[in-house]
């Protein structure tokens, strides 16, 4: 019907809105850097570098999960896939004495296969993605326990790989460069090639997408393969960072990755999942938790912070999405 202007609501200026998250991040960063309670520890190179490196691993997972999110499918298995590839890589070197490159290929291939299965379950058997990937995450976690019997794999991990994981170039952690490469790759995939455009069409209206000739099922399948691939890369980074294959690590990355992606959708291109927004969100969450911890806030703040930011972020971004659709 004729859309007449809704009475103007008070809201952030349309020009400022995309950068609100960036501004919050900068203010928070500056605050922790100068507040007497946190300044000497927070602003130290060791602290910044360690947070940056940890968030880089998480960032790789979050960016990968954007592919299914753009076509409105949740992938809750990225944490489990990261764990799986991590264990596979560690085990390939430790138990099968495979060279690093072969171990990486094997581990990432195994993790990516999980994405292939996710895609088939979702598109062929029409299982809701939330259920399919939640089930897959639990299933994979069980397999990891069975294989490792809960033990960390720590022998025979490539020394040079671990050195890479803890190393820096020009004061910036090596893994952050990996994150940068992944960010460019995901940005390219989502915005510069037809595949990404197709995902956006499917996310907007799957039936319309089908009728303009897009192979919806194939694109959805591939989106799960993309997220599994990058989750597996994240698993490889975990091995490099920790120097071990720890069956417990990686699992709690799922919620944090989703929180970052959702929070990222409130920035840069409000109401849409996007790479730069996700990067900002990753850093906001990482340095936020770090600053609060240094402030002396107890350990449970981590869960409270991520849980709350996930829900708040989705609420904000869905209202931004509605505003976009309803604005005249």
């Amino acid at each position: 019907m004729t859309s007449t202007a809704v009475p103007a609501r008070t809201r952030l200026g349309p020009t400022l809105e995309p950068y609100a998250l960036v501004i919050i991040f900068v203010l928070m960063f500056v605050f922790f850097a100068i507040a007497p309670e946190t300044s000497d520890l927070f602003a130290s190179h060791a602290n910044l570098s360690s947070v940056l490196a940890n968030q880089s691993v998480l960032g790789v997972l979050a960016l990968g999960s954007l592919a299914p999110l753009v076509c409105r499918n949740f992938d809750l298995s990225v944490g489990a896939i990261a764990s799986l590839s991590q264990i596979a890589i560690a085990a390939a070197m430790s138990r099968f004495d495979l060279p690093l490159v072969v171990a990486l290929v094997v581990g990432i291939a195994i993790g990516t296969m999980v994405g292939v299965v996710n895609g088939i379950v979702v598109t062929r058997f029409r299982v809701n993605a939330l259920i399919a990937t939640l089930g897959m995450a639990t299933f994979v976690a069980g397999l990891i326990q069975a294989y490792t019997e809960g033990q960390t794999i720590s022998n025979g991990i490539s020394k040079s790989f671990v050195r890479f994981g803890s190393g820096e170039q020009a004061g910036i952690p090596n893994v952050t460069f990996v994150l940068a490469v992944v960010a460019v790759a995901v940005w390219y995939l989502l915005t510069q090639v037809p595949f990404g455009r197709h995902l956006h069409f499917i996310g907007s209206n799957p039936e319309s997408a089908r009728l303009v000739g897009i192979d919806v099922d194939r694109a959805v399948r591939r989106s799960f393969v993309v997220s599994a691939f990058f989750a597996s890369v994240g698993g490889a980074l975990l091995v490099a960072r920790n120097g071990t294959g720890d069956p417990r690590s990686g699992a709690n990355y799922m919620l944090q990755a989703l929180a970052a992606a959702a929070l990222g959708a409130t920035a840069i291109r409000p109401g849409r999942y996007n790479v730069v927004g996700t990067l900002v969100a990753i850093m906001l969450l990482g340095f936020g938790v770090n600053g609060l911890t240094l402030w002396g806030v107890p350990y449970w703040i981590n869960d409270v912070f991520f849980g709350a930011s996930l829900v708040v972020a989705v609420a904000i971004s869905s209202s931004l999405g509605r505003e976009r659709a309803g604005a005249t």
Partner: protein, 516 residues
């Protein structure tokens, strides 16, 4: 229809009604009277102010409104009109989206508005509910089982159910009610809306006032006692329908005569290859053994009632659903079982009936919507050429006269007519061999309809074959060289251009099937 005596007192009177948004007048000094015992049709193009008027009456956008509203002996300044005042005064609204839950029972759908009668412990008293619902519906001539699922009702009965529940507290003796219906027939096939109109006429004859907003002018001419035309927020005329012709009405709405149908040479296929579309023995769903040909440069219509199989025919040709039997050749190529991709590759363009559900990407921008078919063609050296996309989108917006601020505007904020133009532009830019249109101008105003027709005519002149399904028989008569009439999945008639009249199409669509 003559004015019932003793009801001269106006049911609803508006004086100098006005409303501006950001300095632009959406409604500008509208004064009119709606008589009791009449059906008063309110017509106008998109942006004419109909919706604003309804919103003002409902009391939802009344800040800075001007003028007064009088119902019976109660008068209120428009700026003071609140939803509860409207309710107390007897104003009732039924919107285009009638808000009926198909998988719940009729009684539940009534109770969701009227509330549930409850017994001890707050338990719903089903027996009391069924009795009251049955009584309510019978008042409106609906004899349905309150326990029946609402989805099983005929379409007009669903709408009538929405009307009945809106009027539940307006007893038969109450004569103050004013019922405002905002496009209640938009999604109803013709015979259903005729049934609905009959019920409305009876309700009005009881002494109630009905304000009916509709895009279907034949409906206006059929049911209205009085007609008000709005254009660009201003009151054009209020008059009796008596003596008003279709073309007069169009001229009043548009403000000028719309151009006549383009003079196009009558299509005469010289060779078989001139046939853009050849369908032989097509069966599937309710469609049985249908054959038809559409030449390049020809417009063929399919007329029929909802359920006649008319939409299924175009869906099967477009590859959306698979036929059980038969062949579809487009430009000499057998489409086989290739589905949508092979149809698109052969040059088929399909504009579906429900554009918001099946064609639009509502939350994406106009540019993306325009270029949605075959994004791959913008791939240059491994990435999409955004400059080329921008150039094409801008060109299409201009060529197809799409009214949008820019290609960046969100699709869902465009008017219905403009959204349809976007969908048409998306396909016609590809110079399709075959254009399949299902209800091309549903829910758009007369001006946009004329523009859409012109767009189709231009494509056809360039050699596209067009197959048009429409429940608007005026439209088929305006647009088509030939019309096939379908009934129960079979072709029952074919009319050439000189035989086409809406009345003839209606007659053929309804005629009972002879015993086989």
């Amino acid at each position: 229809m003559t004015e019932p005596s003793g009801l001269a007192r106006p049911g609803l009177a508006l004086a100098g009604l006005g409303k501006s948004y950001a300095g632009v007048a959406a409604l500008d000094g509208v004064t009119l009277e709606i008589r009791r015992g009449t059906v008063h049709c309110l017509v106008g193009g998109n942006g004419s102010g109909k919706s604003t008027l309804v919103k003002l009456l409902a009391g939802v956008v009344n800040r800075d409104a001007r003028g007064t509203v009088t119902i019976g002996d109660r008068t209120v300044a428009a700026s003071e009109l609140t939803p509860s005042w409207a309710r107390d005064a007897g104003l009732r609204f039924v919107h285009q989206d009638i808000g009926v839950f198909d998988d719940m029972s009729v009684a539940d759908n009534v109770a969701v508005v009227t509330g549930y009668p409850t017994g001890p412990g707050g338990k719903i008293d089903r027996a009391a509910l069924d009795t009251s619902v049955r009584a309510l519906l019978q008042r409106f001539g609906l004899d349905v089982d309150p326990a029946a699922p609402t989805g099983s009702l005929r379409p007009a009965a669903r709408t009538m159910l929405a009307i009945a529940r809106a009027l539940y507290d307006q007893g038969p003796s109450s004569r103050n009610g004013v019922l405002v219906l905002d496009e209640p027939t938009a999604s109803l096939p013709e015979h259903e809306s005729a049934f609905l109109r009959e019920m409305l006429r009876r309700y009005a004859a009881d002494g109630h006032a009905i304000v009916l907003i509709t895009h279907h002018l034949s409906e206006v001419l059929d049911v209205a006692d009085d007609v008000t035309v709005l254009r660009d927020g201003r009151h054009v005329v209020t008059r009796e329908r008596e003596g008003l012709e279709y073309r007069d009405l169009v001229a009043l709405i548009v403000g000028s005569d719309i151009p006549e149908r383009w003079a196009r040479p009558v299509f005469e296929p010289a060779t078989a290859s001139d046939h853009g579309l050849v369908v032989t023995g097509l069966s599937g769903g309710s469609v049985h053994d249908l054959s038809l040909r559409v030449g390049r440069g020809e417009v063929v219509g399919i007329a029929g009632m909802r359920g006649s199989g008319r939409s299924q025919v175009v869906k099967m040709i477009a590859g959306v659903t698979a036929p059980t039997r038969g062949q579809v050749h487009v430009n000499g190529t057998d489409l086989g079982a290739g589905g949508i991709p092979s149809a698109i590759a052969a040059g088929v363009a399909y504009v579906p009936e429900d554009r918001d559900r099946d064609a639009a990407f509502g939350d994406l921008d106009v540019g993306s919507n325009l270029l949605a078919v075959g994004v791959r063609r913008y791939l240059r050296r491994g990435r999409l050429d955004h400059a080329a996309e921008h150039a094409d989108a801008t060109r299409l917006i201009r060529e197809f006269g799409i009214r949008t601020r820019s290609e960046r505007q969100t699709m869902s904020t465009l008017s219905g007519g403009n959204r349809q133009k976007v969908v048409l532009a998306r396909w016609l830019e590809r110079r399709p061999t075959l254009l399949l249109l299902d209800e091309p101008s549903q829910g758009v105003d007369v001006g946009a309809r004329a523009e859409i027709h012109r767009i189709v005519e231009q494509a056809v002149e360039l050699g596209t074959a067009a197959l048009v399904v429409s429940s608007d028989f005026d439209e088929l008569c305006l647009l088509c060289d030939r019309v096939i009439v379908m009934r129960s999945g079979r072709q029952v008639a074919e009319l050439a251009r000189h035989e086409l009249t809406p009345a003839r199409l209606t007659e053929l669509s309804f005629a009972p099937l002879e015993a086989a």
